[in-house]
């Protein structure tokens, strides 16, 4: 009989398995993303597409300043390049300040950051009500109806990609007739609920239903997340890692990147693939490709 305690134990054992053995074993699909930071221009098209697709509430200046924005996908911007630092000791900024000219020599560094859909997601085992768990699609899901707003999950997320509804944002975010533009495929979240990037689960579900109706498997490239779809430079790739013929599985392979490890052991360490905070052993499923600059 499914019970709350049963759910929690399931999540714990999945988490342990993910942590110790690398990845889950119940996946039917394992959706993943590859983001080429050399192509990302930091233009915001993806994050705005996310607002439109996923019914994200805008919150205004004051709440934004209180870190209560609902942006599932944000573009971080940095001006230093620790890796390009000549000394290589990881203190690029301090060194740069001392030695560089008065102005930037290169542009900025942009980082699209959204839920990394960790296989060993640290947000999951801390939820007291099992509101966040792993789906058979390999996604870290949030059950809005279960969520009681303890915010433990957000505290435990090293990427800070969980957004909590501190307020009932809907009345201000969608004054009539703006509410007519809401996406009916997903809910509008209310006060006291945690939310996060779902890799556009409504699109995944729609594709799954279509494929089932037509009696076939989901085709590679059939599902496009909203951010991927609109990205003007095509910096974002999305797909199923369990499908070995998929484009994304091939990128992971070409980059000699492995899941389930906290340190990659590449035959060619110069390849551009890396995962952020991989050393925390959370096993993120978003693969970034290093930014490239002339020196």
């Amino acid at each position: 009989m499914p019970s709350l305690l049963g759910n929690i134990f399931d999540i714990w054992s999945d988490y342990l398995k993910g942590n110790e053995q690398g990845g889950h074993h119940k996946y039917e699909h394992m959706y993943s993303m590859v983001i080429d930071l050399d192509k990302c221009t930091g233009c915001n098209a993806c994050s705005t597409a996310c607002y439109a697709e996923n019914n994200l509430a805008w919150v205004g200046e004051e709440k934004f300043g209180a870190r209560q924005a609902m942006n599932w996908l944000r573009i971080e911007r940095y001006f230093d390049e620790p890796d390009m630092d000549a000394a290589g000791d990881g203190h690029g900024m301090e060194q740069a300040a001392a030695t560089q000219s008065d102005t930037q020599d290169r542009g900025a560094s942009f980082l699209p950051m959204m839920c990394q859909q960790c296989n060993a997601a640290p947000c999951e085992p801390v939820c007291p009500v099992a509101a966040t768990y792993h789906t058979v699609d390999g996604l870290n899901a949030q059950v809005y109806n279960r969520c009681i707003g303890s915010r433990y999950c957000a505290n435990n997320c090293p990427f800070r990609v969980r957004n909590f509804n501190f307020y009932d944002n809907a009345p201000t975010a969608w004054p009539a007739p703006m509410d007519q533009g809401l996406n009916p495929d997903i809910s509008v979240r209310s006060k006291g609920v945690m939310e996060k990037c779902t890799f556009c689960i409504q699109r995944t579900r729609a594709a799954r239903d279509t494929a089932k109706r037509e009696g076939r498997e989901i085709r590679d490239g059939e599902i496009q997340t909203a951010c991927q779809q609109t990205c003007p430079t095509s910096a974002i790739l999305f797909g199923d890692l369990l499908d070995e013929t998929s484009k994304i599985a091939q990128v992971w392979k070409r980059q000699q990147m492995k899941l389930g490890v906290y340190k990659q052991d590449k035959a060619n360490p110069e390849l551009r693939g890396y995962r952020i905070f991989e050393e925390l052993n959370v096993d993120p499923k978003v693969l970034y490709l290093e930014r490239v600059r002339e020196v």
């Binding site: 573009i75 911007r77 102005t103 930037q104 060619n268 890396y274």
Partner: protein, 711 residues
Amino acid sequence: MSKTKIDRRNFLKVLGLGGAGAALAGCDMPSYVTSEEGVEKVYSYLAPEEYVIPGIGVWYASTCTQCPAACGVHGRVREGRVLKLEGNPDTAANAGKLCQMGQAAIQTHFHPERITQPTIGGKPATWDEALALINKKAGNASWVTGTVSGHQRVLMDAHLGTGTGRHYAIEVVNSRPWEDASAATLGDARPNLHIDKARAVLTIGADVLGTWGNPVKSMRDYGNFRDAPRGVLMAVEAAMSLTGANADHWIAARPGSEAAVTLGLGHVLMTKHGISPAGMPSAALAFKNMTPARVHELSGVSEAQLDKIADTLMANSPSLIIANASHAAAKTAQVLNLMLGNVGQTLTPGAALAAGGLAPVTGSSKDLVEFAMNAKAGKVSAAFITGTNPAFLAPASLDMARALDKVGFKVAIASFVDETTQSCDVVLPLSSALEDWGTHVPAFGGNPGDVHVQQPLMERVHADTRGLGDIVLGLAKEAGVDGLGDFEDYYGYLRTAVSAMIDSDLEGDWNRVLQAGQATSKSAPTAFTTGGDVALGYSEAVKSGGLSLITAARQGIYDGRHANLPWMQEAPDQISKAVWDSWAEINPKTAAGLGVKDGDYVTLSTAGGTVTTRVFTYKGVHPDAVCVPMGRGHTNYGQYADNGVNPLSILNAPSGDMTASEIIGSATPVTLSATGDNRHLIRLMDIDSQHGRKLVATIPATQFDRNQGGA
């Protein structure tokens, strides 16, 4: 039958086919059929309209009008409502992609502050009353618009042809210096750009990835440009743009000195690399005189930096130089493109539409200045204003308030109340772009002959609004334009015109056009005419020492037209990451000299006035420049736009002929004084450093090349 006499020549003209020689097969006017038929009867939803399947979203093609680029879109329609826009994969101008402004078109469409009914003198009125007044008082009216193209332009031209008014196309964010320079040097104002084919791209005051030309097309090409063999991007500008923020080499130049830097680059290419502008003795002389020492004096750009740019351009051929900082810089850049052999490779001839009347009239700030001058001189008796906001965009020195006051009769055709509509005698409520018919010819990035078709994606949200085409058609008919009498509405006109353009009036062909979101007009490739000598210049006015105010357009708020969209206000600025307010970008060295720090309020004083905003320090701005991005500081643009300051208002008075620089390219002497107040600037993130963590890892290009780019 029509009440006016139609002859074939005039008929073709009003359909935008002048000179096309297209054969018209049959002239029966299709009637207007919409889902509004049967609207007086209430049907149970058990029997929905045949095209509505509950729960199923259907994608229809249309055209985005959020900026002048005119990208093709697909809109997702479910239960009769449009919910999401995506790029149309079949339109070459954007190939399936869309920028954040396009994504936010949904918010413009469903905006709670849309104008829902006509007003006369600020008081609600009916369409009949408003149109009666217009017909009485708007004789010889001018059109004041943004960039327009397609059949809306044809009808505006036809309407103008009945009087003495003229067309003012106003865009302060524009590509005019580039277009003028290209026309002068290549004989083609809008050559095709091939960023993807270039091995090195140098931008000089042109935010190619952000707001210049068609940024979606440029970004798409940029994505390919970064594939192996990887192209090198360089940017010369006074304050970092989105393009500069993606550059391999970013070179800060003193505001207004961009032309001198471009000339200096020519000097280095001539003296160190032995290439010279063939058959252009005056250009060669200008290059010769602009020594690196002189460049450094004027711009602060060192000889080593010039060498680096020149070496990179020489080592990575073909390259492409795109300049928009000033007319002089753009002209010099085109001469450099000729010298480097880029013309014909990364710059190829565009195409001229056979139906020339459809071609885009690209806006400029020259028209803004001329409108102000002519209006103040009492030469504008009446004006229709749509798609632009001159009262907000004009520097204070132009005294736009007085200019508008002097226009005898003003009609705003607008979706939102703004600084301009509030001074208009009549305001006509405009349908949103997602409720309207139209055709648009992309000025940049389209294939030859591309005409993007805009069709309504849903019923009007506000029943009493009307489409731009319908309004212009009505005005043109009333003014007695030949050949329009039989068209009941703009749809009927557009369908006939497009059918004539594609030489078919078959139902199926029209449906295919709507499905594709585009039609192809006949066009002829243009040819470059090069070889003539070109006089090149630069501005002597720039000197070290004083501070100059510049402004910048950022994708998002743009020129201020999207400041009323919460999504755009809350999308962090790409560079400062600030939201919901303005800021002044100042170099840390300059800030230290002035004794101000992040979050300090400073008052910026120019000859044109003052604005007070907060300081944001970073190294992406020249020490002699203060950059305040434009678009905020509205005084009457709704509750969401009520923040920030408007730097455009205090910029220099533009010179009369506007051949030196556009308004936003002009460096305006400014002094700063701290008010003593400080408040934290709200930003997405308060750190600019990765603190040694591997968040965005960067590798040198040599490593990328060793691995053939990997993935």
